[in-house]
Every structure is written in structure tokens, then in C-alpha cells.
């Protein structure tokens, strides 16, 4: 049956002789034989698409050694020409094109390769592939030759050395080595190409996003840093240009006043002048407090608020009692937060001063649940929070202001029972969001660094 090279014989199942040498081709080799020769033999074949493979056995040997590849996978090897190797390739055969490749090596003298592949198809047909002239010789090792589905024209056909029984080889093999059935290599999903590509893509995306965030972070940090610098500069300017000079003014005024006789009209006016200027300086203290970034700490805030409360209650009948966490840290409290909180507390103190008729007022500042809790409680006459009282409309403002900061404000009062107002503001507002947290933690660490050594900055105001 002379067939075109590269075409396989498909025949209805004929005599299925179990003889080992049945179905084998001839000894084939390259046109030239020499010592220490590597001969690469190649053949492709098709399994019809319409059917499945019931069984596929390959039998082969070579003088002296061989490596057998199916579709690029090394499926067998042998180094004894007296024996035949038998391989069960059933699992590896599927409809479509396949490539058999043999890398044979001749130590010396005669050389040949003998092979037979029998594929039993599910529909009863049998496919025979034998070592014959349909094989091609790969003249020079090409990368990936074991998987090439088409042979270039430059690959010559194999040369038949002789049929089975040709000297010096055997007529019947001395032994048959049956190899265990080869299984499809199950590639774990993490080794699969698609998975690795997805993984790489994800990594690349993550890296890109990180770069973006980092640049954003740097940008924000720089912005923040610039803002702080600017605030520090303004604070310094106010101090040097306004506070210092106004203090001088007061001083000169006092000196001038002292030089005047006690009953002088001008002296009284100078007194008023100095008093007014002192009031102005006290106001500037507050402006400086708000502007100076060095004072963005919890401790300073507590200090300032308690000082304010004491001063405003100093000349009243209300005793101011303070309860401040000793461990008030140098943790940062942002400008909007501390300003709004101060305004709310001021409002509360004002209300207490005007309406409560209390004798005692408690101001409590405590670190609580990731936030800052401030309680202002008096033992005054109280009121019903449900009924709006003229003058006390500040309460709505306060509640709104706290809500804007992500916190809350609670008013507990009853007529005759005093009044308790609780404020709570979160100190890390964006902690709820992942990005926010990243951004926050960075922010926080900067603050820690900045405030770790408050002394280093203190004298720059």
C-alpha cells in the first residue's frame, strides 16, 4: 500500500495479532550513518475529528538510544536495541494533529530506529503509523522541532535500512518493556498560562494603582506640608509684626502713663488705651492659637479649652471643675476639628453663664472610642431640650456642626436638674475607608514625626 508520506493508514480492524513485532515498520535512519551520531526523526499524523481514541499503543526501539516525544512531551526513552519498549499513549491521543519525534543516538557502527503505533478508534477503525519513509529527518536541531506540525521541505525523508530481521539486529526481540500508561499532565491552575497571565495583569494593575496612590499621597503630603509651612509663617508674622509691636505699644503707654500725675485726664485715657490694647492682644492669642500648626495637638487643645473656660468663669459665681485625661497626647487634631469644637464649647459655656444659674460647671475632656469626648455639665436650673428656649438656639447649630465633623452632640437636661452636653468627634474620620486609612496613616505618621520633638520647633513660635 503505497501511500503519500505523512498520510497514515486507516484500515478496518484486521487481524489483531498480539505478536510484538506486528505493526512495526522498518529500521530507518538518516541517509548517512556515523559514530556518535544524533539523528532526529519526525512525523506528524491526524486523528479524525469525528471519533475518539479507544486505545493507542506505541512500540519501538533504536540502536543505540532514543528519546521519544509526542507533541513535544518526552514520553519514553530506551537504550537497549535488543528490547522493545511499549508505551500506552491512549490518554494522550485526541482527535487532531499530533507530532511524533524521536531523538536517536548512535554510539558506533550500525544505527536504526524501529517504531509502530497502533491507534484503535472508537468507531472500530485502526490507525497504523510505522517507521518508514514517511518519516522525515531533521537535519539540524531546530528549536521546538518536536512540536512542529509541518515539516519544511528541507527535511529529507528517512532512509530505510532494512525490515525486521536485518543483521545485526534481531528477528524476535529479547524482551519487551511495557511502560505504565501515560497520563495527561494535569497542570495545576496556578501553573496554567491563563492564570499566570491574569496574575501578572493583576500585579501590574496593583503596582500601577500603588504608584498612582503614592503620587497622590506625595502630592497631598506636600500640599499639607506647604499649608503647615504657610500657617507657621503667618503665625510668625502675626507674632513678630503685630503681637510684639502691640505689646511694645502697651508698654510704652504704661510708661507714659506713669510719667503723668495721678489726677491727670490723659492718664485715665492712657489707662483705657492700654486696657483696650490688652484685650486686642488676648484676641490675637486666639488667632495665633488657631493659625499655628505647632498647636494642632490634643494636649494643646485641652490646655487651651480649659484655660479659656477658667478665664471666662473666673469672675463669676460658677466654680469651674476640670477633668482632663492626663495622657492627652501630642496626637494631631486638625484645624477644622479643633476650631469647630472650640466654638461649640464656647457656645455651651456662654449658655451656662447666661442661663444656668449654676454654682459649678464640669468640663471634661477625654479620649474615647477613636475620638475626643468633651462634656460640659452644670448644676444649674436646666431646661427642657424639647421646647425651644429663646437664646438657646445655639444648640441646633452645635448639633449640626458636630454632625459635619462626623461626630455628635447630645443634650441631656431637665428643668431643675442641671444640664449636660456631650460632644464627640472622631479623630480619624476617614478610617472607614480603605484608601482613607492608607492616606490617614501616612498623615498620622507625619504628625507623629512632626510632634515627636515639639521643642525643636517651639521657639520658632
Amino acid at each position: 500500500m503505497a501511500r503519500q508520506a505523512g498520510r497514515e493508514e486507516i484500515a478496518p480492524e484486521a487481524e489483531s495479532s498480539n505478536s510484538a513485532t506486528n505493526g512495526l515498520g522498518c529500521w530507518i535512519w538518516a541517509a548517512r550513518t556515523f559514530d556518535r551520531q544524533t539523528c532526529l526523526l519526525w512525523r506528524s499524523f491526524d486523528i479524525p475529528a469525528s471519533t475518539t481514541v479507544a486505545q493507542a499503543w506505541l512500540t519501538m526501539t533504536a540502536d543505540n538510544e532514543y528519546n521519544l516525544f509526542l507533541d513535544g512531551r518526552n514520553v519514553g526513552r530506551g537504550a537497549e536495541w535488543r528490547h522493545l519498549g511499549r508505551y500506552d499513549l491512549t490518554q494522550l491521543m485526541s482527535p487532531g494533529k499530533h507530532v511524533l519525534a524521536v531523538e536517536a543516538y548512535n554510539v558506533d557502527a550500525e544505527a536504526g530506529m524501529l517504531l509502530g503505533l497502533q491507534v484503535n478508534l472508537a468507531d472500530g477503525r485502526v490507525l497504523h503509523i510505522k517507521s518508514d519513509t514517511s518519516w522525515r529527518i531533521v537535519p539540524k536541531e531546530v528549536r521546538g522541532w518536536q512540536t512542529m506540525t509541518k515539516a519544511p521541505d528541507s527535511w529529507p525523508a528517512a532512509t530505510v535500512i532494512g525490515p525486521i530481521g536485518t543483521r545485526p539486529w534481531w528477528t524476535t526481540p529479547e524482551g519487551i518493556e511495557i511502560n505504565p500508561a501515560l497520563q495527561l499532565i494535569k497542570i495545576p491552575f496556578w501553573q496554567a498560562g491563563w492564570f499566570q497571565i491574569i496574575l501578572l495583569t493583576l500585579c501590574a494593575t496593583a503596582i500601577l494603582i500603588s504608584f498612582y496612590l503614592m503620587s497622590q499621597l506625595t502630592f497631598h503630603q506636600k500640599e499639607r506640608w506647604l499649608l503647615q509651612q504657610e500657617r507657621a509663617r503667618i503665625a510668625r508674622d502675626i507674632h513678630d509684626d503685630i503681637v510684639s509691636r502691640m505689646t511694645q505699644l502697651v508698654l510704652h503707654g504704661e510708661v507714659a502713663r506713669n510719667d503723668l500725675p495721678a489726677d491727670s485726664e490723659t492718664r485715665l485715657q492712657l489707662d483705657l488705651f492700654c486696657e483696650e490694647a490688652r484685650g486686642l492682644l488676648a484676641t490675637l492669642d486666639e488667632v495665633l492659637w488657631a493659625v499655628n500648626p505647632r498647636r494642632d495637638t490634643l494636649r494643646d487643645f485641652a490646655s487651651y479649652v480649659t484655660d479659656y473656660a477658667q478665664k471666662s468663669l473666673k469672675h463669676t459665681s460658677i466654680q469651674c471643675v476640670l477633668d482632663v485625661d492626663l495622657e492627652m497626647s501630642v496626637e494631631a487634631i486638625d484645624l477644622p476639628l479643633r476650631r469647630n469644637l472650640l466654638m461649640a464649647i464656647k457656645e455651651t459655656l456662654n449658655n451656662a453663664l447666661k442661663y444656668s444659674e449654676a454654682t459649678e460647671l464640669l468640663l471634661q475632656i477625654q479620649r474615647q472610642n477613636q475620638g475626643l469626648a468633651v462634656v460640659v455639665q452644670d448644676n444649674g436650673r436646666g431646661f427642657d431640650p424639647a421646647t425651644p428656649t429663646p437664646g438657646r438656639n445655639g444648640l441646633t447649630n452645635m448639633t449640626q456642626r458636630m454632625a459635619e465633623l462626623g461626630g455628635h452632640c447630645r443634650v441631656i437636661s431637665q428643668p431643675g436638674q442641671g444640664c449636660r452636653i456631650e460632644f464627640w468627634v472622631p479623630l480619624n474620620r476617614s478610617r472607614r475607608h480603605l484608601w482613607g486609612r492608607m492616606w490617614r496613616s501616612k498623615q498620622f505618621s507625619t504628625n507623629v514625626i512632626e510632634t515627636k520633638n515639639p521643642a525643636a520647633k517651639s521657639l520658632t513660635i
Binding site: 492682644l281 490646655s303 471643675v321
Partner: protein, 221 residues
């Protein structure tokens, strides 16, 4: 109010450290306008103060907190080493308790706002000399905190006594010396002298040369 030892010696000798010439002049005139105060020396820089003041032996030093090069705080620390018995009062334009606390830690015995009325200035100076340096609740809180921290981190040998801590705690709650005295059934003088000891203890750790160097390194020129 004025301790007899001081009164018998005539007017209180005040030294002034202030960098601005006009302000210095005004302060001098203001101090001299009181019959019981006398400004014996006015320095323009911390360096000058450290050099000159020890020879003049004043009773009290008024120290501007912001000085060029050597800061008022560093100068205070250095002078306290040289003159442990001289009272130093920090002058500050702003009411900044954090800065004030640093000055107190460095060895100052009290502080005054520059805008303080002259009459109050006099009382405050006499208070400091009488050992009754006033302490605000904010400072009291910082003092307690500072001693606790030192005890924790440095194992500092200087501790507050129970009574002192009690008084500081009351101060930090906003009670006045008078109220504390009646609450603890002490005389006001006793409360004041306890506070004086607190100040002294606060200064002890600042009096060594090492501490001066530490403070100097903390304060920018």
C-alpha cells in the same frame, strides 16, 4: 507677702534680658517706677546675660522667651546652673502653656505675659520671690504628666510626694490655692510651699550640665 529677708535689703534687684532696645528701655523704666523694685542690669542677648548677670547677683531675672541665637529657655537653663537660688521669670507675648511649661522645666520659677498690668507685674514678682509662684491648672497637669513620664522612662530619682501630687491634682481640676487649702485642711502658705518644692523638683533634673546641653540642642538658634 514680702519675705523679711528681702524687705530688709531694700528694693528688689531685678535683671532683665530682652533683645529689643526700646522694649528693654520701657521695661527698665516700668520696673524702676516701683519703689520696691530696681532694675540693676538689662541684657540684650542670652550670651550677654550668662556672662554679666552672675556678677550682679540679682534677686530675680526677667527673661524674654524669644531671643536671637541662645533662646530664653536655654539661657534660663544656663543661668539656673550658675545661680540656683535666683528666681527666673519668663516673659512671653503669647499665652502658650506648652512653651511656658518648657521654660518651667528648664528652670524658670514663673512666667508673665508681657501685657500684664504693671501693678500685677509687681505682685507676681513678689509672689515668685515669696515662693508662691502661681501655677495654672494646665501647668499642673503637665507637671504631673512629666513626673510620671520621667519615672517611667528614666527611673528618675526625684518623685512627687503624695501631698504634692494631691495638690497638683486639685490644681489641675481648676481649684485655686485657697480652695485647695480648705479642701485639704492646710494653710495657704503650706500649699504655696508645697508648690515651691514642686518647682524645685522640676528644676533638679534640668540643672545638670548634660541637661543644659540637651535643652540647647533642642532649641534652634
Amino acid at each position: 507677702m514680702i519675705p523679711p529677708s528681702v524687705r530688709t535689703r531694700g528694693p528688689l534687684k531685678v535683671a532683665l534680658v530682652e533683645d529689643q532696645p526700646k522694649v528693654r528701655e520701657s521695661w527698665t523704666r516700668l520696673i524702676n517706677s516701683f519703689s520696691d523694685l530696681s532694675c540693676i542690669c538689662a541684657c540684650a542677648t542670652g550670651e550677654e546675660a550668662v556672662r554679666i548677670i552672675p556678677q550682679k547677683l540679682p534677686d530675680v531675672i526677667l527673661m524674654d522667651i524669644f531671643l536671637p541665637r541662645m533662646s530664653g529657655i536655654e539661657c534660663t537653663a544656663r543661668l539656673k546652673v550658675l545661680l540656683p537660688n535666683v528666681q527666673i521669670v519668663i516673659l512671653t507675648a503669647m499665652d502658650d502653656q506648652e512653651l511656658v511649661f518648657m521654660a518651667l522645666e528648664a528652670g524658670a520659677d514663673g512666667y508673665l505675659l508681657k501685657r500684664t498690668k504693671p501693678s500685677e507685674l509687681r505682685t507676681a514678682l513678689l509672689d515668685v520671690l515669696g515662693g508662691g509662684a502661681p501655677m495654672t491648672s494646665q501647668i499642673a497637669r503637665r507637671v504631673i504628666e512629666s513626673f510620671r513620664q520621667k519615672a517611667k522612662t528614666l527611673g528618675e530619682s526625684v518623685h512627687l510626694s503624695v501631698r504634692e501630687e494631691q495638690i497638683l491634682a486639685h490644681l489641675s481640676q481648676g481649684y485655686s490655692n485657697k480652695q485647695i487649702a480648705s479642701k485639704l485642711e492646710l494653710s495657704i502658705d503650706t500649699v504655696c510651699s508645697h508648690l515651691k518644692h514642686v518647682y524645685e523638683k522640676l528644676h533638679v533634673s534640668s540643672r545638670t550640665e548634660a541637661a543644659v546641653r540637651y535643652i540647647a540642642s533642642k532649641t534652634p538658634p
